[in-house]
Symmetry: C2
Subunit: 392 residues, 2 copies
């Protein structure tokens, strides 16, 4: 009996535990300090009324034999997949419901999708990055090539010349940098993938924050993407489902490798190792697409967006370089006065009692950068920016 | 770019689609036939009142900022893990909450657990069997050795002599045979695993149907199991959660291979590729352990058990050999008159208008056997047995 020894190559991340420890120590030594947390990556607003009503109605159904639901389809109920298909059609992306898979979230699918690919593929991952992309590939023992995202390319790296890779991760709007690819940049990626027989894993978890017309919400808005891309999305940030767990993955029927439809492989994976998302959760997700649901969700996203604007305006005023803040809940700023990420963390905590996330925790190119998020409370966000203005 | 070519070695199962096709054709040609389905593997009774109330209360919490829950712990909320720990303690199994992982169901965990083991391990799988065990290992390219379960060993095979394997699947009460290992039989398996450095994957999904004193509900009731076994359980059959999705996996801290705790590996797998079970579902599962919940669930399980008894009594009366029916919702019978599984299927459908599941669909040793289940309606079960008595 041997374990999967690739697990021994994983590095432990102490990012959030170190932050918690430092904040805790500071609070103990400064009992009166009113600490504001702008490092938070989770939503704070409750589920909207339309979602709550739908979930309760579905719960009632589960309590009566005539309306009770047992095992559902592993790929998700058609009622929800049809709503997602219609949502895509509003931006002229034509999907078949068979191309849409409901899951318990983008994180699960981004990890599990690797099951259908050979271990021998090489993987291209931007740095800095959401750590799940790296760790899931280390677990499988794949060769990872990092692609530098930095100030020079505004944290939006373009396809490498003279390098052929098999699997490509793109997250746009990006976590942690908030940077968003525009149409012509994504077209370069799609052309690269089609030319090199690569597959793009496109993480669209933050698409609902996009308001720049030239930035696609879906990779499938780009010509040619259906033959080279898989898209992952989630209700977590769109509708506050971080604790409710529902997402979806789109694999076009056109997408084939080794003469095999990736859609069929994923269907086989999911029917074998997954049993679908709770009925009540799928009904809750369906309510996101009702008139009432759309209106309520729009209000919440706008609240977060306004927070992002308050942060961005302050940084602009102070002449601090940053990405994100527009079309994204994340603001990724260059630490002032050439401070390192952790130096700036300590400085901000001690001088302004504000907590953010050191960029170095997301990869080597994150060093010297810092992430603030728009998921906090409005008054706190305003107060934090006031303190930052006083500081610089 | 290459796909995981192991997927091409999977065999398509046409078992349930063939059954559906045959039943459909029969109904079209026999419009008045009152067909009774005893092939059903899903529960039919609704969620109990305590569970419904808890889920609604939790849904209300999700609608207010003060009680809203975002990302929960990947391993599950402590409130639920404590209830499971206490449940185990009622049969003298002492667990730490850190040894319990909440998941979206036993099927997911049984598939995903293989992630932490080397591809080079050999796997021992009884035949006939729940197809997920086989398919998940084929996907990983592992060598599978089949262990014959048959009439001679009452479908309860014991450890092989002169053969060393790494991963062992045991499902007790068994799907599809309904057979249940007793204490001394399980002790032989535990001793074998400890001696050979193997790991037992113990599927306890049907434990709540056990009423024979000598049959353990948990492998951890056996001395020595904590150093060689992982246990998978589910609220699906205990509390009708097949469409609500919640289960749990127990990995003792004592269980080490290659000097590494399997608990730590699984924690790392889950924190990387999973984001926890919906808060509302975990609150619903918690309600299963309240006084009211326990009482309500006991009633439902007894309803199914009474169905199983009605089926067993009929077969005993007719002198038809079978396993299960006691401590299990499944009855696995030997087809009368040396019929093959499909011959008996056709015979039962055409002569008695009863649908069951041909045993040959679960492996080569299933040929000549047939599965009936206790999840149907009481009146239908009685009527079906009346028809079978008239037939033989």
């Amino acid at each position: 009996m041997k374990i999967n020894s690739n697990y021994l190559n994983l590095e432990e991340s102490y990012l959030f535990s170190t932050i918690a420890k430092k904040v805790n120590e500071f609070q103990i030594n400064n009992k009166d300090a009113d600490i504001i947390r702008l490092g938070i990556g989770d939503v704070t607003k409750p589920l909207c009324g339309a979602v709550i009503d739908a979930m309760k109605k579905a719960t009632d159904e589960m309590g009566h034999a005539e309306t009770f639901r047992g095992y559902g389809p592993e790929q998700g109920y058609t009622f929800l997949r049809e709503k997602i298909r219609d949502y895509y059609s509003t931006r002229n992306v034509k999907l078949d419901v068979k191309e849409i898979f409901i899951s318990d979230g983008a994180k699960s699918d981004l990890g599990n999708i690797l099951d259908i690919f050979s271990k021998d593929n090489t993987v291209l991952i931007p740095d800095p990055v959401y750590p799940v992309y790296v760790d899931t590939n280390i677990m499988a023992g794949r060769k990872i090539i990092y692609l530098d995202a930095n100030e020079e390319n505004s944290f939006l790296p373009l396809p490498p010349k003279d390098l052929k890779v098999d699997i490509i991760y793109i997250c746009s709007p990006n976590n942690p940098t908030g940077a968003v690819y525009n149409r012509s940049q994504l077209k370069l990626w799609v052309d690269y993938a089609n030319k090199n027989n690569s597959v793009i894993l496109f993480d669209a978890a933050y698409e609902s924050f996009i308001d720049e017309k030239d930035c696609p919400h879906s990779i499938f808005e780009i010509d040619g993407a259906k033959s080279c891309a898989i898209e992952f999305c989630s209700f977590s940030k769109i509708a506050g489902f971080t604790g409710t767990r529902c997402g979806y993955t789109v694999i076009p029927m056109e997408l084939e490798r080794d003469s095999t439809k990736l859609n069929s492989l994923w269907l086989r994976r999911q029917t074998t190792k997954f049993n679908g998302v709770p009925y009540v959760v799928q009904r809750a997700a369906e309510a996101v697409f009702t008139q009432e649901g759309k209106k309520q969700i729009f209000e919440t996203i706008n609240y977060y967006k306004e927070n992002a604007k308050i942060i961005s305006d302050t940084l602009n005023e102070l002449g601090i370089w940053f990405t994100g803040g527009k079309s994204s809940p994340y603001v990724w700023l260059k630490c002032p006065n050439n401070m390192t990420s952790w130096e700036f963390f300590d400085y901000l905590l001690s001088k302004a009692h504000i907590v953010g996330t050191p960029g170095s925790g997301f990869g080597k190119n994150g060093e010297g950068f810092f992430r603030l998020t728009a998921f906090g409370d409005r008054d706190n966000t305003i107060e934090a920016m006031k303190r930052i203005k006083e500081l610089f």
